[in-house]
């Protein structure tokens, strides 16, 4: 009733497709992170540690 059956005809695959899409992007991002140059990683990681002058 109330379209639940209509949705179920095609929508069951949404979870699978969504999982696949997210997994693909996740892998791409992990690869990107791992390939970041070390120089860039060290520079960025040190950004919060920069000093400032207070008066």
């Amino acid at each position: 009733m109330f379209k639940e059956l209509q949705l179920a005809d095609w929508a069951g695959i949404v979870a699978v497709a969504a999982f696949f899409a997210t997994a693909a992007v996740f892998v791409a991002v992990v690869v990107g992170a791992l390939r970041m140059p070390r120089r860039k990683v060290l520079h960025d990681a040190a950004l919060p540690l920069e000093k400032e002058t207070r008066k």
Partner: protein, 781 residues
């Protein structure tokens, strides 16, 4: 190298810090009061603006938007200036942001106790305030992105990514869940109803936790934890993975708030799967935070800042372990609608948000006022009182929640409810509710220590001016929007997603061809990457330095999840659902009663969604159907049962029972903790407003018959008159225009349409169960 001096705008940071502490006290005080009301009904004082149903939204809104909101604005403005080595782009916008936000909070603090509400959790504020929130959020966004655009540091540190995700996603969620049509200056109906409204609400509600209470605080963690530990984050690469995976996955998990309801199965599966996937990024982030303390653990003994931050991150790990656990359908069957969820939420807000806020304040305030913290011992005392308060709170809620879940679902071997009286669960858990109140009070005491300590610190110093020397030419490289999005890595990702989806969706040849293309694309991408790996790395590196394409990709990441969940249920043919007899439009007086039900916050304690469990069906009647709420603006499925479900309460009790129950719930249900509602007998229902309300609902597709205002009022008089006449038989004299009459009219029709002679009997199993269940159950609302 030529340099210039940049002076940071810390004035607005100081303002947000102090505002956060002030509103934090108010929010926690309101929390302790309503915790007391749950245990001792007399604390409602028979006063409408002090009742639980009105104060609970005040507590949640104050905690989320006033306390944490001001805290994250302070943290974002302070750290962004340092990370970009740039003063905030506009002092005017910064000031407008601060004062505008405080005006919004004050408006909320006035309107919510008055009963002016939209009736949607964490989205209760009325439409004029919604517009103000949207405006101020835009001011915040412009100020923030403008600062990024003129920054003096090429790289965008990971904390800023979390801030970007926060600003973009909260804007999207807030607008999506606040689409509404006003019926008056203080009232409106959401444009969605029933299941659509439920999905949009929990897409918003869940992600308000994700993108208002989590991502900005993670950004704060990635800035202040290295700062306090005086060492860089444990793994910057892990923080990159943490960010993207969290942003991609979080947005999908909203349906886990609607598990085991009438929500389509595929959506429930989606919510559960993505919730479980959240374990990985959440724990990755937690470990990254804790491991940043490597070699500095000894400082925890003496440094209250690190103590609070480390405990806060640990609570983040604990609550993000518990969240996916509760999203498993079988666990959710026990935990949903119980205090367990309340305990889970507070391990996040008290343990994660409040402790991170405390750590940040103790680090920040001495620097902002160029002085030392007034008392480290007081800060330590705050830590331990806070810790004891949290543990008492969440442990009592675990015990209470699991007890409620098990008791209310229990069925004896003879096939009857083990605890047919709902109040058995209320009285059994009373000691836990008292313990929760005590835990909350202890936590509030600890926070008052912070307020005192900070006040003394502020008074001992003077506002400091912070400056930094930056090169005249910072050498920003970055890239434009087109180059950021249209490139080989993005193209390959898109193709892989496309072929993967077709493989999953398609059948026969389509599936085979898609699989072949998927494998080929992946191979080509790998070969291409090995040849032009440096170029790919360069793209990614420059993407992380380009706020605009970065923001667009973040928006895409969060939009996809919401679209896939919500759109299929929005674009359905509503008219077909009117044929099954499951629902019909409300009569005018019922609609007026429904608005009173929403106004009094009844949904904060009562659900209207019976789950398909033996215990629930026996107790309440046939499980809820989607179609039953298609005219419900807003939906009332609820999220907590301090009292029983009301989906089929109609005609279960006579009118006089409801009248007496609303006057004094103990008169009909001994042991009930529900407040008295004496003003409902005194106050007139706003029947004059019905014409406009009905007109608005008609615009949204509800098939109300065409009627003049007089005909609407005549219908109210007819229905109200019948109720008054019935009450008169019990010696009760009351005018038919009182609120109680409208409320009774509404309550008495709940669940009635599902009982009408059904044209399609095969689609309506369980009617016999309803009747049997009613005979057996001895519940009380």
């Amino acid at each position: 190298m030529s340099t210039k001096t940049v002076e940071y705008n810390d004035g607005v940071v100081r303002q947000f810090v102090l505002a956060s502490i002030f509103w934090g006290v108010i929010a926690m005080l309101a929390g302790v009061v309503i915790a007391g009301q749950m245990a001792f009904y007399r604390l409602n004082f028979d006063t409408q603006w002090l009742t639980f149903g009105r104060l609970r939204p005040l507590h949640t809104n104050a905690a989320i938007f006033a306390f944490v909101g001001n805290m994250i604005f302070a943290g974002i403005y302070h750290s962004t200036q340092r990370l970009t080595r740039t003063r905030l782009a506009s002092d005017f916008l910064s000031s407008l942001h601060f004062w505008g936000w405080q005006a919004i909070i004050v408006s909320a603090a006035v309107t919510l106790p008055l009963g002016l509400t939209r009736g949607k959790e964490y989205a209760e504020l009325i439409w004029p305030i919604n517009i103000a929130v949207t405006f101020i959020w835009v001011v915040f966004a412009v100020n923030f992105f403008w600062t990024l655009a003129v920054r003096n540091e090429k790289s965008l540190y990971v904390a800023i990514w979390f801030y970007i995700a926060t600003i973009i996603t909260v804007a999207m969620l807030y607008i999506g869940n606040h689409l509404q049509i006003p019926t008056s200056l203080t009232h409106s109906y959401p444009i969605f109803a029933g299941v659509q409204d439920a999905l949009v609400q929990w897409w918003y509600g869940h992600n308000a936790v994700a993108f208002f209470l989590t991502t900005p605080v993670l950004g704060i963690m990635y800035y202040y934890l290295p700062k306090a530990a005086e060492r860089p984050v444990y793994s910057y690469r892990l923080s990159v993975v943490h960010f993207w995976s969290l942003v991609f996955i979080y947005i999908w998990a909203g349906p886990h708030h609607l598990l085991n309801t009438a929500l389509p199965e595929w959506l429930q599966s989606l919510g559960m799967i993505f919730s479980l996937m959240l374990w990985a990024p959440s724990w990755g982030g937690m470990l990254n935070g804790l491991l940043t303390l490597r070699g500095a653990w000894n400082k925890l003994r003496t440094d209250p800042v690190l103590k609070f931050l480390a405990a806060g991150v640990t609570f983040y790990g604990m609550s993000t372990f518990e969240g996916p656990l509760l999203a498993i359908r079988s666990v959710n069957a026990v935990s949903h609608y119980t205090d367990w969820t309340i305990g889970h939420v507070h391990s996040g807000t008290l343990g994660w948000n409040s402790f991170m806020a405390a750590g940040m304040f103790y680090w920040l305030v001495p620097r902002l006022w160029n002085t030392k913290l007034h008392s480290t011992k007081l800060a330590d005392l705050h830590f331990w009182t806070g810790m004891i308060g949290i543990l008492l709170y969440i442990a009592s809620m675990w015990v209470s929640g699991i007890t409620q879940g098990l008791m209310l679902n229990a069925v004896t071997p003879d096939g009857v409810l083990a605890h047919p009286n709902f109040l058995d669960a209320v009285t059994t858990t009373h000691a836990m509710l008292v313990t929760r109140m005590v835990g909350g009070a202890i936590f509030l005491f600890g926070f008052l220590l912070l307020a005192y300590n900070i006040a003394r610190t502020v008074l001992s110093g003077a506002p400091a001016t912070a400056t930094v020397e930056v090169p005249l030419d910072p050498g920003k490289e970055g890239m434009g929007l087109a180059r950021g999005i249209f490139n080989a890595p993005m193209l390959y990702s898109f193709l892989i997603i496309l072929f993967g989806t077709l493989w999953g969706v398609g059948k026969g040849a389509v599936a085979t061809i898609s699989l072949v293309l998927l494998v080929e694309t992946a191979l080509v991408a790998m070969i291409h990457m090995s040849i032009s790996g440096k170029k790919w790395g360069e793209w990614y590196e420059r993407l992380l330095e380009s706020w605009l394409p970065f923001s667009v990709l973040t928006l895409l990441a969060v939009v996809i999840g919401g679209m896939i969940q919500i759109l299929p249920t929005v674009f359905i043919d509503q008219t077909k659902n009117e044929d099954g007899g499951w629902q019909k439009v409300y009569r005018p007086l019922e609609l007026a009663g429904r608005d009173i039900y929403v106004r009094e916050g009844c949904y904060t304690c009562h659900s209207q969604m019976i789950r398909p469990f033996v215990g629930e069906v026996m107790r309440y009647g046939a499980s809820g159907r989607l179609a039953e709420s298609i005219y419900d603006f807003p939906f009332q499925w609820g999220s907590k049962r301090t009292g029983p479900d009301l989906q089929r309460v109609g005609l279960k009790y006579p009118n006089v029972w409801h009248f007496q129950h609303m006057m004094n719930p103990r008169s009909t249900s001994p042991g009930s903790t529900m407040p008295n509602y004496p003003w409902l007998m005194r106050q007139r229902a706003d029947l004059e407003a019905l014409e406009n309300k009905i007109a608005v609902q008609k615009r949204m597709g509800v098939p109300f018959p065409d009627r003049s205002k007089e005909e609407i009022l005549a219908d109210c008089r007819e229905q109200g008159g019948a109720i008054v006449a019935d009450l008169g038989k019990s010696g009760i004299q009351i005018s038919p225009d009182r609120k109680i009459i409208a409320l009774i009219a509404y309550l008495q029709q709940l669940g009635q349409y599902g009982k009408r002679p059904d044209p399609q009997p095969t689609e309506n199993p369980g009617l016999e169960t309803v009747v049997e269940g009613e005979k057996q159950a001895n519940t009380e609302p």
